[in-house]
Symmetry: D2
């Protein structure tokens, strides 16, 4: 990526509000997107048990993610926002959740097992942080808390394809990478970035700082989610 501090670069490109969110927590963002779990997954060396542990907790995560989009429907200020939130909700609950259950099956995790899981601390922490932030603030606070997940996974997918060590053939996690590098997922992530950029246009600096803090905390909790998978933490 071009160095945004390069004066030649800055003459032509203005940082979007979303870029500024990432820049405000650049270290946390990199620690999340380039987490050891991600690297080992790209290299195909991640322990199967870590991936399975992650998959199970991600099932529980998806349910709360669905609840978060339900909250976005409620928080909508007009029918346009409502329909957009509903589209995300349907994508999660009607499509992604079923795909996830199927994918878990391929990794030897049965639906019965999924139904009886306990939430790990990292799952509790991240999901409740997002939901509570949405309740405390408005629909934009909620979106910003959700963004590290949606946008981060898209960046991680792209980033992995550029790494030399990423194993393309015979990687047991190839299907997972395909999912997040798919055109649908990349477009959905871009749509989210666009929406946030529109909503953040002309906001005050005080408001920007509130949102930057949310983005940073959510990013950190996402990194913890990788760590939980890697270490198979409860």
């Amino acid at each position: 990526m071009a160095n945004p501090n390069n004066p030649l670069f800055r003459r032509h490109v203005v940082a979007t509000p979303f870029d500024r969110l990432k820049q405000a927590c650049a270290t946390e963002w990199r620690m999340y997107c380039e987490h050891e779990f991600v690297k080992q997954l790209g290299a195909g060396t991640l322990a199967m048990e870590s991936f399975q542990h992650y998959l199970k907790q991600d099932y529980l995560f998806l349910i709360h993610f669905g609840r978060a989009w339900g909250l976005a429907v409620y928080k909508s200020r007009d029918i346009g926002q409502l329909r957009q939130s509903l589209d995300s909700l349907k994508a999660i609950i009607d499509i992604e959740l079923d795909l996830h259950v199927e994918f878990c099956g391929e990794w030897g995790i049965s639906e019965t097992e999924l139904a009886e899981l306990s939430e790990s601390r990292a799952t509790l922490a991240y999901t409740r942080y997002v939901l509570e932030t949405g309740n405390r603030g408005d629909i934009l606070d909620l979106h910003v808390a959700l963004a590290p997940c949606i946008v981060g996974y898209a960046e991680i997918g792209s980033w992995l394809t550029e790494q030399r060590y990423t194993k393309r053939l015979g990687n047991p996690y190839g299907k997972w990478m395909d999912m997040y590098t798919s055109r649908e997922f990349q477009q959905a992530a871009q749509a989210e970035v666009d929406w946030i950029n529109t909503q953040m246009e002309d906001i005050s600096e005080a408001r920007f700082h509130e949102l930057a803090r949310i983005f940073s905390e959510a990013t950190r909790l996402e990194a913890d989610f990788w760590q939980m998978g890697l270490m198979k933490e409860d």
Copy 2:
């Protein structure tokens, strides 16, 4: 309907929790279901302007009704409740809202006009009461606040078909009545009654009284909605 106070009847049939909710506000329930607006609609004598006014406000109502089902998705305690809430949400926003816009078109109300409407007091009062009740309490409080709408419209549809004065042929409001006497709508209303009955099983008397108060207040606000239509009130 058989008289539930008839001892012969009561020997065989035990009132369900939902029956008890209606009995606890029998007067309000009848004033809502047998409101003058309903009777004139059945007889085909309702002023067209009243029906149009009602249709417009009902459009705004549906949007908040959708928000309420989004709130139910958020409030769900498990994936079963979440999926059920999402089904209701989709029924409102993906199906009923479009049908309503089309139906409004048949009555000379354009989409532009719908997009620019102001909410009448009765719409504000009922919709915010439902949403606030759901926020204050849990998902059962929310359902009980929504029930007078769902179940009431089904009862009104059935009740009208039994009235001597109801005009079946050439009634300008025939299509409206058909909608709420349809098998789909009747089944959806019954499913709602069943769900509430299951949730209210074995609750304490204190809890019953909380819910009965919500049901009664929501019923009264629904009757006000008819009155608003009848009198074309802002």
Copy 3:
């Protein structure tokens, strides 16, 4: 009032954000502040039964007003906002509510009667609108929904003292007017205006329009509250 579009005027005075909220619903604001109930109260000609009806519903209103400040405590983004919200909450519940009960006693309304009241439609509509608006949006949305009450009563108090028809001596409603023209109340209202002005600094036009709509709807529901008192409506 000086014409704010007069260039001579504008050279000296810039409209604050709060001024702009009032200007955006100037008609509704006047219909609320100069409502017939208010005028008759000032003139001392208001029917005692209307005032008593208002006092009873205002008791129920105060409880929900207290709940709204509890919500503001929850919604606070920092300890400063939290302490400020708590101060308002204590002012309502620890002081104003007791004074109100005492005042009701002077008008022949017993505590027992207050404890058994039903909420009128206008009370339900306004209180639930405020609370729901606060839940949907953030703490600023909540404050803007509360402002017509706090700031309006202060303006009404001042305005009445300037009207020729206002009866100062022997007015049965003199004590009520004294309460809202008191220095404490006037200062509390000004503090609320100042806080809102600070929060609205540098907000986008889109955000202003959201807030202006809330302010306008809440103002209208406050006017309905006077009307409910005047007409002794359920």
Copy 4:
């Protein structure tokens, strides 16, 4: 502990609902109340840095704890619940928070340092879990999520006084223990237990299981809070 299934025992003592909550997560409850942090604190051997880390995060915890009581004010179903919630809110924000700041000062932690702290993961996890549980459910869900903190600290205080290894004289943490063994704190905790017992009277088994799960998860997150202090975790 006596076996509650022993018929001789049961003849005399009936488990209260709150006892049943603790019994349903007996292991988690003991791991929280008898955590290594607690034992070292009682023995006076806890590293000063661990205690200081705990004190700092507890400052942030108290602010969210205050927010939780604000939410309880909002969620109240009547003026009695509202006043009780407000009393707890005032105890936290008007009294305990100031004492905590003073106490931090005695341990060399300045107000400036407190104002600039970042929340550790354990603080984020527990506080947001409590607040989100309160938003999803009703006021009883919220109280049950708060109970491990209030009741647990009282039990920990009492339990420590009974341990042989507890150092009474010259223990640097003596003042902390005094606080939670004080009559005021013990009575406040008992009042919370009594309130929960009253609210849980006659609830259904399904409702009990919902609440038991909340109590268990909150207890586990409280134990994590000790662990965070012990290990000085971010």
